[in-house]
Structures are given as C-alpha cells and as structure tokens.
Symmetry: C2
Subunit: 203 residues, 2 copies
DNA sequence: CGTACTTTTGAATCGCATCAAATCTGGTGG
DNA sequence: CCACCAGATTTGATGCGATTCAAAAGTACG
C-alpha cells in the first residue's frame, strides 16, 4: 500500500514528518492476529487503515470485555505515555495496519512543533466527537439519537453518510432494523428528508 | 477558592506552569449563566471545578441538543486549535470555573515541554476513557454495562465509587432504579460483592 | 428537627432487540 | 452478458427488559 493512498484514510498522516514516515511500516493483519498483549512493552503506535482491531481485557470469569473497537485511525494513543500495554489488541477483521516506532514518534512530537500541534488537535477533536457520542448514546429513543447525530456531526442540519446504514446503526447503538424503521417513520411524518445517503432535518 | 484545593479536583492543574497560573482566573458561575456563545471568538480555555456546564446547540426546530455535559475538568478542548466556538456553553448548575487565557495557554504548551506532555497524556487518557464508555453504552443489558464498567475502570476487578449511585447510573446510561435492581440481582446470584462503595467481581 | 436528596421496592407500560424471511444491491467469475 | 453470492435493506411478529410513575424508608446537613 502506498503512502498517498493512506493519507486519504487519515488526514493526520499528511503531517507525519519524513524522518518518522521513513521508519513507519505498513503491514497486513489477518483476522485473529495478535497485535500486542497485556504487559508487552510499548514498541509501536498503531493506526488502522483497513479492517478492525479490538482492544480486549478478560475478567476473572474469563469473559471477554471489549474496551475499544477501531476501524479507522489510531488506537491506544495513551500507550505513547506508558511503557507497557494494559490490554490485548487483536485483529477482529483482516486488514492493514501502520506501525509507528514509538521512540521515533515521541521524537517527532518533541522536535516538530507543527506535527505536535496537529497531534494535539487530532486528540482534541476525537475527545469532542466521543463526548458527543456518549451524550447521544445516553438518549433513550431511536429518533432522538438520529436527530442528535445529525445535529452534532452534520453541517446545516444535514449529514451525508459515508458508511452503510448497518454500520451507522451500530454507531448509534441501535439494531439496524430499529434504525430503518425509525428513519422511515421520521421521513413519513416529515421530520426528516432522506435522499440516498443525504439525510436532513426539516424545520 | 485557593489553588492547592483546586489541584485535588484535577491532577493536571498541578503541572500548570507559574506564568500561566498567574493569569488564570477562578470565577463563580450561577445556574443559567452564559459562558460563551456560538460564534464568539475564543479567549479562554475552561475547567469546571464545581457545578455543571453544558455545551448546547439548537436545531432548526429550536430543539436544544446537548453536545456535552461537564461536571469536572476541561471542556471544549478543541477550542485551543480554533478561533471561534461552535456551540453555546451554559452553566447548568451553580459552581466554580477556571478561566485560562488562550494565548497564555498556547504559549505554555509551546514552551514548556513537561506541561505539554502532561496535556497530551491527559487528552489521550480522556480518549481512552471515552472510547471505553461508548463501547459500554453500546451494550444492551444493565448487568453487562455494570460488569464492563468494573472491568474497564476498576482495578483487579473492583471499583470504589466516588459518586452517589444515582450519578453512576446516569454515567452508565441507566435509570437509577434499574441500576439498584440489577446490582441487587447480581449480588444475590453471587456475581458481585458489594461492600458500601466498593463493588467487586466474584470469580 | 426539618429539609433535600439518595436509596429502595413495586407495578404498569412501551420501545427496542431479536428472530425470520423476502427483496435488493454490488461485485465476481464463468 | 448473465448467473450467482454476500451483504445490505426492508418488513413482520414476538417477548423481554428498561423506563416511567409512585411511594416509602434511609441519610446527610444546617
């Protein structure tokens, strides 16, 4: 996979300085692969280009707990500040992963102010997005979640979906059936206007 | 309110360099106060010490959308990178707020590597926490959410709550009644052991 | 001692998840 | 180009579990 292509998947990659880029590896992962294990010392920072990675922990009873599900972008960013991982990372779906050597990444952040600022902004944006998502998931009705999504992620009370609705449903914490039905209802009652992947609120 | 006291509420405050600390203001807010409005130019970065702030947006129909509810710590961190706010901020509950002049904050991040690293780590921790919370809110059952919380936020399969259960319920996206009932059920069936505010998983 | 808030339990209701099944879609290979 | 397949979309029927409304008991604090 070549770098210009990667950039499309993650705007931040455009700002990675050359020194860091040159030591970054792009590897394929196969469903079931172990990326790292709890206790492993931190050697890389990762970025999902394609596929899905899950951060997992197991409780006393052996139950698997998913701490995070990542389908695009960086995960376990907090490992930048630590020395060992606090959970397991597994490939949940075959795909492609970027490996940033951790020392080189830290050096780049220290010495390159522009890259550092982009990194900080990226983290802040992620925080904003996640806080809005939590707020949304705390809403009871399916309709409320849909409207909240359009309001918080959309532009001018409209969103253009870049993923199938099934995936959107899971982001909203709804079954896809519920999402389809509620969209239809809102559309019928004139609250929403739906045109393919463009969904907008009607006053 | 004096600074040593503030530090308890937010570990990051300990690392604020003196130059920044000296220009930081601590102000009271009263329920209903406007902190900033959408479109206002960014002059301060805020930190909630006490009370509650809500970030709000309004849709075409005039409905109020809560983007974020903050009861402790920084909010709207992304304003560091921008020039104008993208939503309104209101005091939802009387309390205390820290005002960090934005230019001084940026300067501190640029020139003080230690402070900067703490800021980055703080953001990364927040991301980790929020991702886990989203994952948790996507779980269906009340029991699953409780167990996930203990697993992801606790130590050695146990948590010690620092807030009333009612507040915990809202963090879990449950009604408090549901939380009480489910805790009782899990306790009765031997899955959980509950001792005041200490709640632990039993193998 | 009283007030405000949390904790606790009960009963009724409603919405969403789930299971099932049909249709539609894009992409593959023959 | 068409047959075919995997996945997405859509609609229906059912049951469970969480919310909601109500009310009582416990607790902290001035």
């Amino acid at each position: 996979m070549d770098w210009p292509l990667l950039i499309e998947s993650q705007p931040l990659l455009k700002h990675v300085p050359n020194e860091l880029r040159h030591v970054t590896q792009c590897r394929n992962m196969t469903k079931g692969d172990t990326i790292f294990r709890i206790g492993d010392s931190v050697r890389n920072l990762f970025c999902v280009v394609k596929g899905e990675v899950q951060l997992i922990r197991h409780d006393i009873r052996g139950t698997k707990i998913v701490l995070q599900r990542s389908r695009s972008g960086f995960f376990a960013e907090a490992s930048l500040g630590g020395t060992a991982y606090h959970c397991d990372a597994l490939a949940a779906e075959t795909g492609v992963l970027l490996f940033f050597p951790i020392a080189a990444f830290r050096t780049a952040l220290d010495q390159n102010a522009a890259f550092r600022n982009v990194w900080i902004e990226q983290l802040a944006r992620e925080v904003r997005k996640l806080r809005a998502q939590c707020e949304r998931l705390n809403l009871n009705g399916a309709a409320d979640r849909i409207i909240h999504y359009i309001e918080s992620e959309g532009i001018n009370d409209a969103v253009t979906l870049k993923q199938p609705r099934k995936a959107w449903a899971s982001e909203l914490g709804l079954s896809h059936e519920s999402l389809y039905r509620t969209l239809k209802r809102l559309s019928d009652q004139g609250t929403l206007s739906i045109d393919g992947n463009k969904i907008s609120l009607v006053s």
